[in-house]
Symmetry: C2
Subunit: 368 residues, 2 copies
C-alpha cells in the first residue's frame, strides 16, 4: 500500500515544525504536519496536542522527539556540569557583542530552562513526551536522533502508531529498521538541524535499496515541487521538509532570524557543533563563527552544548528582537541550504499548494 493511503493523506509532504500553526496548516492542506516536541514540557505538549486535535478535525498529524539518550538527568542539576571555561567564553562573547553578561545565579531562569530541556532530551524524558502524545490522535511518532528506544517502539506498536526515524547513512538506516522503525527518513547533509555528510541525491537511492520494502521519505534540500519530484525520482515515497516552513506566516521564528533567512544565500549555512554539541546545519552567524573560531574552547558534547546554547539564545533572541546589533549578529537558527530559495513570507498552505503545482509541472516535463 502506498504511504499516502496508509497514512490517510492526499500528498506525501511531511512538515516538521515546532509551531502548531504550521503543523495544522499543512495537515489541513492535505499533507502531514509533525510537531517537534522537544521544546515542550509534558503539560505544554498535552495542551498543544489538544489544540491540534481540535484544529485538524480528524486529519492525521504526528509528533517528533529527540532521543540522544546518553545522559540521564534525573536528580542532577545538569547546568552544573558545564565547565567554567565554557561559561567564561560565553561571558566574553556576550561582552564582545555588547550584551549584558548571561545570568549564572543558582535557580536562574536560564539555568532551570536548561534543566527542563535536559530532562526532555534524555530517554526517560522522551518517553514521557510519547506517553502524552499517545493520548492524542497522533498518526506518527518520529525519532530525530539515534534508534528509537525499545519502550518507545513498544508504546507506539500498542497504540498502532507508525514510527519514523531520521538517518544520514545506510548503516543508520539498517540499525533503525532493526530497532523497529516503520518509515525511514533519509536526510542529506544539506538539511537543517542534525545532519550527516552525504547529500540527499546520493543518500536516498542507497537507503531506499537497503531497507526496501520499508518506505523512505527524503529530507534535505527539498523546498519546492521540482525538488519534491527529484526526491520521488530517487525512489522516496514522500518528502520531509523543515526549513521551508520557517519563513511562513504561521512560523514563530523570531523576526530578526526570519529577516536573516529571507536575505541569506545557500552559502550562508554551516554544519556546526556550536548549538547542540552534535553537527547541525544552521545559519552561520557570529555565534557559529566564534564557537568554531580560534579562541574558542570548542563546543561541548550533546546535551551540554545544547543547554549552554539554549540558555544563551533565550537572552540573545529577545535582544535581537529589540534590535540590539550584537544580538542580531549572534542570532541564528537551524536551517538547511534551501534557505537561499526562501525570499518571501507566505502562508504554509500556499507553500503546500505551490509545491504540488510545481511537482505536477516537473513530472509533465519528465514525461517522454
Amino acid at each position: 500500500m502506498r504511504l499516502t493511503e496508509r497514512l490517510g493523506i492526499d500528498v506525501p509532504i511531511f512538515a516538521f515544525s515546532h509551531c502548531r500553526d504550521v503543523v495544522a496548516a499543512v495537515t489541513n492542506a492535505g499533507g502531514f504536519g509533525v510537531l517537534g516536541a522537544v521544546a515542550y514540557s509534558a503539560e505544554q505538549l498535552d495542551t498543544e496536542l489538544s489544540w491540534l486535535d481540535r484544529e485538524t478535525g480528524g486529519r492525521p498529524y504526528g509528533v517528533d522527539v529527540l532521543v540522544p539518550g546518553k545522559l540521564d538527568a534525573r536528580g542532577v542539576r545538569v547546568a552544573d556540569l558545564i565547565p567554567e571555561e565554557h561559561r567564561a567564553f560565553l561571558d566574553t562573547l556576550f561582552s564582545k557583542y555588547g550584551m549584558a553578561p548571561p545570568s549564572r545565579a543558582t535557580g536562574s531562569q536560564a539555568g532551570s530552562a536548561a534543566d527542563d530541556v535536559a530532562r526532555r532530551v534524555t530517554a526517560s524524558g522522551a518517553t514521557g513526551l510519547i506517553e502524552v502524545a499517545l493520548k492524542h490522535r497522533i498518526g506518527l511518532i518520529a525519532s530525530a536522533l539515534g534508534p528509537p528506544p525499545p519502550e518507545m517502539v513498544a508504546l507506539a506498536r500498542e497504540a498502532d502508531v507508525p514510527v519514523a526515524a531520521l538517518v544520514g547513512t545506510v548503516e543508520h538506516a539498517l540499525r533503525q529498521r532493526e530497532a523497529g522503525a516503520d518509515i525511514i527518513v533519509a536526510q542529506g547533509t544539506e538539511a537543517g538541524g542534525h545532519t550527516g555528510e552525504i547529500s540527499t541525491m546520493v543518500l536516498v537511492p542507497q537507503v531506499v535499496d537497503a531497507v526496501a520494502p520499508i518506505p523512505v521519505l527524503a529530507a534535505g534540500g527539498i523546498a519546492s515541487g521540482r525538488q519534491m519530484a527529484a526526491a520521488i525520482a530517487l525512489g522516496a515515497q514522500g518528502v520531509w521538509c523543515g526549513s521551508v516552513w520557517l519563513t511562513t506566516e504561521e512560523a514563530e521564528t523570531p523576526q530578526a532570524v526570519k529577516r536573516k533567512f529571507l536575505a541569506a544565500s545557500s552559502l550562508d549555512t554551516v554544519r556546526s557543533r556550536s548549538r547542540t554539541g552534535k553537527p547541525a546545519r544552521q545559519l552561520s552567524s557570529a555565534w557559529t563563527r566564534e564557537w568554531d573560531g580560534e579562541n574558542s574552547p570548542g563546543p561541548l558534547g550533546m546535551p551540554l552544548q545544547m543547554l549552554l546554547a539554549e540558555g544563551a539564545m533565550a537572552t540573545i533572541g529577545p535582544a535581537a528582537e529589540r534590535g540590539e546589533p550584537g544580538a542580531v549578529e549572534l542570532a541564528n537558527y537551524f536551517v538547511g541550504q534551501v534557505v537561499g530559495q526562501l525570499d518571501q513570507v507566505k502562508p504554509a498552505k500556499q507553500v503546500v499548494y505551490e509545491m504540488i503545482s510545481e511537482y505536477a509541472e516537473a513530472v509533465e516535463r519528465l514525461a517522454p
Copy 2:
C-alpha cells in the same frame, strides 16, 4: 531547441573522463564524452583527439580544460617555488609510509613533470590546448575552473563550438554567462574534483532559474538513472558525470585505486585542498589525512600544491600498483560521494544503457 538536438546526441549524458576509451565508448553509446585535457601536452592531446576522431566516426565529443589562471609559468621553473617546509613534510610522509624519499634533483622526472603540469594549468597553457583541440572535430569545450578567458571564448565562437563552464554557486553561474558560456554545468558539493559547498539538489534549480534560457547540466551525485531523472526533475537538461566512469573497464584508474573505489562507502570521500590547493572532493586516504592533519604545514595554493601532489603521486601510484602497503594507504584520486554506489567493474557502454533504462523506470514511477 533541446540540448540533445543542438549537440546531435541521443541521450543527455555527458561523461567527463581523462581516458579516451571512456570518451569514445560514451559518445558511441549515444551520450557525449568529454576528454579532460589537463593531463596531456599539446602534442599528446593532438594524438588522443586524432584517435577519437577515428573511433567516434562523426559522433560528437568534447574537451575539458582547467583554467585557474593566476600564475603564468612561462620562463619560471615552478617546482622551485615550493617551500622547503612542504618538501620536508613530503619527505617525512614518504618515510612514515615506508617509501623511498621523493627525488628532488634538478631536472628530476618529478620536477619536470610538475613543470609540464604547471604550464598546462595556466591561461596560456590552456589556450594552447584549445588551439590543438579546435583542429579536431570537437563539439564542446568545457572550462572546469573559473570563467573561460576571453581568448578561449573567441576561439570557440570562431569555430562555432559551444563553451560549457562548471559552477558551484549562482554567483559563479552569472559570471560564466557574462563571460560567454553557452552551457552551464551546476555542480554540487557531492561531486568529485573541485567543488563548492552547495548540494546538487539545492544548487541546480537556483542556477536553472538564474541563467535561463541557457541550458544547465547537473553534476554531482549522479551515477544512476534515478539520479539522472532527479536531475531532470530539478530543471537540468542533462547530466554531467565523472566518478561513475572511474570503475569502468575502459578507465585507466590505477588498479590499487580502483579497488579502493569499489570497496568505499559514500562516507569515504573528503573535500580537501591536499591534491590541488583548492577544495576538491577525493577518496580519503593517508594522503588527505596527513595533509589535513595536525602536523601538516597545510596545503599550498593552486597550482603549487597540485605540482607537489602530482609529483608525489607519480611515485605513489606505481608503488601502490606493486602492492607496497604504505603506498596503498596514501594512494587516492578525485571521486564524488557516488563512490558508495560503485561496486562492480562494467563496460562504459553498459553504464550508459543501464542509466537510460533506470531513467525510463523512474519517469514511469513519477507519471500520475
